[in-house]
Amino acid sequence: MRPPEEFRSDFPALSQAAHGHPLAYLDNAATTQKPKAVLDAVRSFYEKDYANVHRGLYDLSVRATEAFESARRRVADFLEAASPEEIIFTRGTTEAINLLASSAGRSLLQHGDGVLLTEMEHHANLVPWQMLRTSGIRLYFLPVDDEQGTIDWNRVEEIAKKHRIRLLAFTHVSNSLGKVNPAAEICSRARSLGLLTLVDAAQSAGHQHLSVREIGCDFLAFSGHKMCAPTGIGVLYGRQELLDLLPPYQTGGEMIAEVQLDQSSWKSAPHRFEAGTPNIGGAIGLHAAIDYLQTVGLDAVEKHTASLASYAASGLASIPGIRILGPRDHRAGIVSFVLDKVHAHDLVAFLDQEGLALRAGDHCNQPLLRKFGLAATARASFYLYSLREEVDRLIEAVEKTRRYFAG
C-alpha cells in the first residue's frame, strides 16, 4: 500500500483542525470519511444522469437505471456473488438484518425453530431476532469466554444436536473487541450440520478482502458508510435459491408484478425486496467507493489497520490502570479500552480537546459489556488513512488524562 499520508488528501474532511490540533479521526468502526472520488461520483450522477429508475421510457431514466444496476453488478463482483440478482440494496446492515429476520420469520423459520447467535453480536444482529420470539422462534447463544473474544465454535455442534437450530447468525469482526471470527471455517461447520448462515460483515466489508464464495455463507449484510460510501446504502446478499423462498419485507411500488384491489403478486429477487424509490445516489456512491478501495487494495487496508491496532494496544498497555479488550494477536483495526477511575465519557471528552475523535459507550454491545462488568469503553478504530503518529498522540493523551483525573 502507498503510505497512508498519501491517501489523506483524497479525504477533504481529514484536513480540518479540531480544538487547535490536526483532526485525528479514530472512529472508523462507527463510520468512515468519504473520498473525493465518491463525492464527485454522487454529484456528477445528480447533475447529469438522475431520474427515477425502472419506470421511465425516456433516455435519462434509462441512464439512471443503468447506473443503479451497474452498481448492483459492481457489488456482486466485489463480494464474488454468483449473480447481481443476489444483491439487495438496503439502508444499511441494520435494515438488511431486519429484512432477513422478518422475511425468514415468515418462511424459512418455523414455530419451534432456533436461531443461534453469539454473545458478541451488535444489537442490530440481536434485536431483530428477538422480535421473532412472538412467532415461536427460539434464540440460543454461543458464549464469549473471555475479554479477548474467544468463542468455542465446537459448541455449534453441541447446541445444534440438542436443539432444532435452523440458522447461525454471527459477526465477522466484533465492533467492540476487534476480534476476527473465522467466517469460512464457521460456515463450513454450519453447512455440515445443515444450518443456514448469516454473516454480519459491517466491520469487515471494505476493511479486508471479502468473498461470499470463499466464506460459503447463505446471507451476508454490510453498510456502505463504513467503507467510504454515503450513509443510507447497504446490502443484503442472499443465495438465489433462498431469496426465491423469502416473502417481501416492505411492500408498495417497485416490488410488485401485478396489483389488483384485493391482492398482488411480487417481482422476483432482488426487486421483490426493494419497495419504493431506492437510494439511487447512495448506490452510485457505493459503486465509486468499491472502485476507490480496490485501487488501494483491500489486503493492504487490512494489513495497515491491523498493524496500527496492534501498535496502539501495545502502546496503551504501558499506561497504569488501563484495561484493553480484544484479542492479543490477529486483531482487526479496533482497540477498546477502559481506564481505572476515569469514566469513558470523561476520557473521550479529554481526547476530543487534543483533536482525537474517539467513541465512548456500549458500542451497541450491551450484553457483552455487561458480561465483562462494564457499562462503557473508549474505542479507537482505524482506516486506510490513519497514521502511526495519530496513535502516538492517542497514547500520550490517554496518559495525560489519567494524570489529570488522578489529581
Binding site: H19, H343, H345, A349, G361, Q366, A375, A376, G407
Partner: protein, 146 residues
C-alpha cells in the same frame, strides 16, 4: 484548557469523593435514571417528612465525573428543602444548563460549579441525570399519596 471550565476543581472533588453515596435504608421515595447513550445509571433515595420536607437524601450507581459530581451536589443542595423548593431548583438548573435562562440567573452556592456544563451540550444529559431521578422520586410520591 477549555475543559477546566467543565471539570472545575469542585466537580473533580465531588467526582472523586461523592457525598451521601450509597443506599438510604429508611427511605420512602426512590427513583432510578439511566442515560441510554452511555449506560450511566443512578438511583436516588429520599426520606420525606409528613410535612413534605426532604429529611435525608442519598444516591448510588455509576457514572462519569459530571453525573457523579452533579448527584453529589444535588444531595447537599436539596437536603432540608421542601418538595416544592426542590422542584423549583430542578427547574432552575434545567433552564440554566439547557440555555433557556438568562446568564445572570446563577445557580446558588456550590451548584454554580455545574454552570460550565452549559458550554458542552453533549454533557448536559450527564449533569441532569440525578435531577431527573429527583423529579421522578418526588412525583412518584405525589401519585402514591393521591
Amino acid at each position: 484548557m477549555e475543559l477546566d471550565e467543565l471539570y472545575r476543581e469542585s466537580i473533580l472533588d465531588h467526582a472523586r469523593h461523592p457525598r451521601n453515596f450509597g443506599a438510604l435504608e429508611a427511605c420512602n421515595r426512590s427513583a432510578a435514571a439511566k442515560n441510554v447513550s452511555c449506560g450511566d445509571a443512578i438511583q436516588l433515595f429520599l426520606r420525606l417528612s409528613p410535612a413534605g420536607r426532604i429529611e435525608a437524601v442519598r444516591f448510588s450507581g455509576s457514572g462519569c465525573a459530571i453525573s457523579t459530581a452533579s448527584a453529589s451536589l444535588l444531595t447537599l443542595a436539596v437536603q432540608g428543602k421542601t418538595a416544592e423548593e426542590a422542584e423549583a431548583l430542578f427547574a432552575k438548573i434545567q433552564r440554566l444548563l439547557t440555555g433557556t435562562s438568562a446568564p445572570q440567573d446563577e445557580l446558588p452556592g456550590d451548584l454554580a460549579a455545574l454552570a460550565g456544563v452549559r458550554r458542552f451540550p453533549q454533557r448536559v444529559g450527564c449533569a441532569m441525570l440525578s435531577w431527573h431521578a429527583l423529579e421522578d422520586a418526588l412525583r412518584a410520591g405525589e401519585k402514591n399519596s393521591a
